[in-house]
Each structure stands twice: as structure tokens, then as C-alpha cells.
């Protein structure tokens, strides 16, 4: 398997960083997606006490210095943290594992995902959902047959944006799970590490190119997919 010499173009350490980044971003996106849809729906449609606090919490990672977010994660989910110690007893460990990198990436990407989905929920005419109810659909069926299909473009765009953001996550990740080759050394951490050693510029530059390609690809894909789903859903 050698596409245009790509296999040899990247060294084994660089490949490991790329593969790990993809793995971390994939799981970060997949696991946070249902939560993102729920949060976006709650923020768009429900009124409940503490709504503004939830809204603030969701957006906090966007505004806080990433290193602060990472440190808070370390305090909370570290092996001696209040949540981490409980989870450790059932065998779930985040600290210094790739799962921790995924957690950090997921939390940093969450605001972007929720914003995209929320905007598309707010664009749905609630009158369509009323019509669905009068035709016999219970609230759960209204959501599954009307709301969800109409929100799909927003979900696709939100997921891709979140994936791209997770690929680039650095500050929170390195603070929370450090920079362990093969375990938590994602592309940005690897670039940082290569730049710390003499002669690492070449490897760093190659990973920079990979980053740019992945980010641009994700943006283009979100545009194209978003538009295609919108066409299918909106029938335009």
C-alpha cells in the first residue's frame, strides 16, 4: 500500500500521530454528537431555570484559555479528581490515555457543534411539528420524522466542524494528558515535540501540511455535504 509514496513520505512516528489524531477526533465527535443534539435542542426549544448557565458552560471552552480547560479537566478527571477517582474504580481512566485526549478534544469542540445544530433547530418552523402532531405523531415520532430530518444539515455541519476542531486541539490536551508518543501525542502535540528537538523541522512541516489538508478537507466536505443534505431535506 503506497499511495504516491505517501507511506514513505511520513515517518513511523508521524504516521502514529496522524492515526492517533484521527482516532481521537472520531471518537470525540461520535460520543459528543447525541449530547450536542440534546443540548442544542434544549437551548433552542426549552425554557428552564439555569438555561443561561448551561449556555455559558457550553461556550466556556471557546473563551477560556485552553490550558485552563485542560487543567480543570485534570483536576476533575485525574486519577485523584472527584470524577476521575470514581470512574477509575469501574475501570475507566482518562488521565494520560488517548481517551483523555478524546475527552479534551470533545469538550473543546462542543461549542462549535452545539452552535451549528442549534441554529438549524431554530430555523425549523414549529408549525411543521404541530402539523405532524395533528396527523397522529406522538412527540417522539414528531422529533424522529420531522425535527431530526430537518436538522440533519446542521448536524452534519456541526459534526464536521467539531471533527476538524478536535484534530487541531492542543492546549487542553497537552495539559490534561501530556504528550506521550503513541498514546496522547496527536498531530499538534507531535509538531510541538518535533520543534523542540534539533532536525525536527522537516517532520513538523510535513505534519503542518497534513493538518492544513485535513482542515481544508473538512471545511469543504461540510460545505458540500451540508448543501447536499439541505437540498434533499428542503427539496430545493
Amino acid at each position: 500500500m503506497d499511495w504516491l509514496g505517501l507511506r514513505d513520505w511520513l515517518g513511523p512516528d508521524e504516521w502514529r500521530a496522524v492515526a492517533l489524531s484521527l482516532q481521537v477526533s472520531f471518537w470525540a465527535t461520535l460520543v459528543s454528537l447525541p449530547l450536542g443534539v440534546l443540548t442544542a435542542y434544549a437551548l433552542a426549544r426549552w425554557s428552564f431555570p439555569g438555561k443561561q448557565i448551561l449556555n455559558g458552560l457550553v461556550h466556556l471552552p471557546l473563551i477560556l484559555p485552553p490550558v485552563v480547560t485542560g487543567y480543570i479537566l485534570l483536576l476533575t478527571f485525574g486519577t485523584r479528581g472527584p470524577v476521575g477517582s470514581v470512574l477509575a474504580e469501574v475501570g475507566i481512566v482518562f488521565a494520560f490515555r488517548w481517551t483523555g485526549a478524546a475527552l479534551a478534544a470533545g469538550i473543546m469542540a462542543f461549542p462549535l457543534m452545539v452552535r451549528a445544530i442549534r441554529l438549524s433547530i431554530e430555523a425549523i418552523d414549529p408549525k411543521l411539528e404541530e402539523a405532524s402532531a395533528t396527523l397522529g405523531a406522538s412527540p417522539a415520532w414528531v422529533f424522529l420524522t420531522v425535527t431530526l430530518p430537518l436538522v440533519l444539515p446542521g448536524i452534519v455541519v456541526g459534526a464536521i466542524l467539531a471533527f476538524a476542531k478536535a484534530m487541531g486541539e492542543f492546549g487542553a490536551t497537552i495539559t490534561f494528558v501530556s504528550n506521550i508518543p503513541g498514546e496522547t501525542r496527536t498531530i499538534p502535540s507531535a509538531i510541538y515535540a518535533f520543534l523542540q528537538v534539533p532536525g525536527g523541522e522537516g517532520a513538523a512541516l510535513r505534519l503542518v501540511i497534513v493538518s492544513i489538508v485535513v482542515a481544508m478537507g473538512a471545511l469543504l466536505l461540510s460545505e458540500v455535504l451540508g448543501r447536499r443534505v439541505a437540498e434533499r431535506v428542503g427539496g430545493r
Binding site: 418552523d125 408549525k127 411543521l128 404541530e130 402539523a131 405532524s132 402532531a133 395533528t134 396527523l135 397522529g136 405523531a137 406522538s138 412527540p139 415520532w141 414528531v142 420524522t145 420531522v146 430530518p149 430537518l150 434533499r232 431535506v233 428542503g234 427539496g235 430545493r236
Partner: protein, 373 residues
Amino acid sequence: MLEIALAHRFEGFTLDVAFAAPPGITVLFGRSGSGKTTIVNAISGLLRPDAGRISTADAVLLDTQKGIALPPHRRRIGYVFQEGRLFPHLTVRQNLRYGAWFAPKDAPREDLGRVVDLLGIGHLLERRPSALSGGEKQRVAIGRALLCAPRLILADEPLASLDDARKAEILPYLERLRDETAIPIVYVSHSASEVARLATTVVVLERGHVVRKGSAAEVMGDPAVTPTGAREAGAILAARVARHHEDGLTELDAGGETLLLPRLARPPGAAVRVRVAANDVLLARTRPEGLSALNIIEGVVAEVRTGEGPGALVALDTAAGRVLARITRRSVAALALAPGVRAFAVLKTVAIAAADVGAGDAAPRSANGDPLA
């Protein structure tokens, strides 16, 4: 039979109504703000009224005293909205089938093919709503409501957002719906001409209260009932097509009186209902001669109604039925028109447009659905 009693208070508006909707089309007739949409939303369950009871032949949908309030999805009501509200992500066929999917398996249901034929939407089935015209959308919306196995159809001004040509396109389908299905229909309108075309029963609403209810002919022939203004007043005559003349006129038989109208595309023997706008009727005390108008009907003045302005509405009972004429108070005085006086109603043939003539049973029905004796 749908029976409704509702009380609901909004800021600055109180709704308090009770009426029954027999088979056929029951039109809730009134100007905007009279409470029509509030009533249909309460029937559909989209609005929870302060107090009330709503029941159909086989179910109690709402009884606030007993704490019964079915949610909208368990009421089985086909709601045709003013703006269609078709699902944009589904094809016309999927929109039509949407409600049947949720209906109980044993509910009496319409056949998709029959409804598609009735509404003339067979060529649209694979399209998306965005590729439909306004009139096509409303026909699909009507079909979608019919196919959810409804106990009742609610239509909230389904023609209000359409131009006259689109209205004319849909009205015949609504007439067929009325005449060919057994599902009661509650239809909201502020248009006197829609009432004339469609209503079996009329419930007139003003500021949240029922001011009159009865058959279309009774209510529309009452000069006291002009919820949308005297300018809109007009009686409904029940007639049958007698024959077509070679010069482009159609002769109707209305209770023994002859009416000549521009050619109607209906066969001899067909029952029609003709809306005669009060603005288009002249009155004379003696049978006029040397007149171009072709329709002159003799009758007896039943009621003269005057208001603040210079106009008056005169109701004339004729063999053809009740005719309303809108004339000036000055003419009422000059002709000494008063109840019991004989007079002649003069109606220009060309004053009656095709849109004023609808299909329908010639016999006006009473509020309980029986033909009037």
C-alpha cells in the same frame, strides 16, 4: 356529529361559544379576531381552553370538568392549515401517507388512490412540496388531512393565501369532499362567497360569541347577519340546471322561477347553488318593462334593515328563495318598502360570475342536517 362548547379568556378577548357541526361543511364565519382560529386550535388540541367540552360521534376529545384533554396526536383530526404546512423533506406521496402510518389499524380510512383522484394530484406524487404551486400545495394538504383516518376535518382559511384563480381551482374539490365523503368538516372563513359555495351549516361569530347558526340559505338570507359588512351580503338560491340556450346562456329552475345565467359547465338536472350579491340586485314596485336585465323575480318584502349609513338591506321572499338587495334608504322611502309589500327583484345575468355558482344540494338543510320541509 361534532359538539363543541368552549370558554377561553385571552388578554382583552373572551371566547364563549357552543355549537354542533352536523355532516357536511360547517363554516365558522366571521371577521379576523372573532375567535375562529382559537376554536379550531382548541378542537385540534393545539390550544387548551380554560373550560369546555368537545365530543365527536365516538369520542370525547376534551372535557375540562372531567379532566379529559386528549393530546393533538390522539384526536385523529385532519387539520388543513392556512399555509399548507407540507413537510419539505418528504415527497407528495410521503406527505399523503404520513398520517395513515399513525392511525389505528381498525380506523375507517380513505383509499390513497381515491383521494388522489378526488383532488387531481396524481401527477404530483413524486414531487417535493417546494416544486408545487400554491394551489397544488393546498390540494395536497387537504389530501394529507383526509388520509390520516380523521374523525373530523378542520380547515383554517385554506384558501386565504391564494389568488382568485387558485381559489377557483380548489373550490370544486372542496365541494366534492363535502358531497362525497361522510367526514364532517369544520371550515373557517371570512369570505361570504366561500360560505355561499361551501357551507352546509353556518356558524356566525362576532367578538368570540356565536351570533347566528343555521343552514347556509337561512343565515346568508338574513339581512341582520353581515359579519364582514353589508357590501359582502348576498343570498343563496338553490336551483337546478334546466337547459342550455344557443346564445350562451344557461337556464336555471329555482323553485319554479326561471333564472338566466352565463353558460355553466354543468349538465341539465344538476343541482346548483347561486350566490346573488345584494349589491347586484335592483328593486321595483311594478314589473319593469323595456329593461335589459333578464331576471325579474316577484316577491314579498320580509325585512328592511337600515344602519348608520345611507344604505339599506332589503330581504325579499320569492318562489326562488330569499333574495337580498342592497339599496339606499332614500329608495326604501321612495318605494315605500316595508314588510308585506310586493316588489320585483331585478338581477342582471352577467352580474353572476362563474365563481358565484357552486355544486350543491338544492334543498337547504336545517342545522341538524335534515332537509327542510
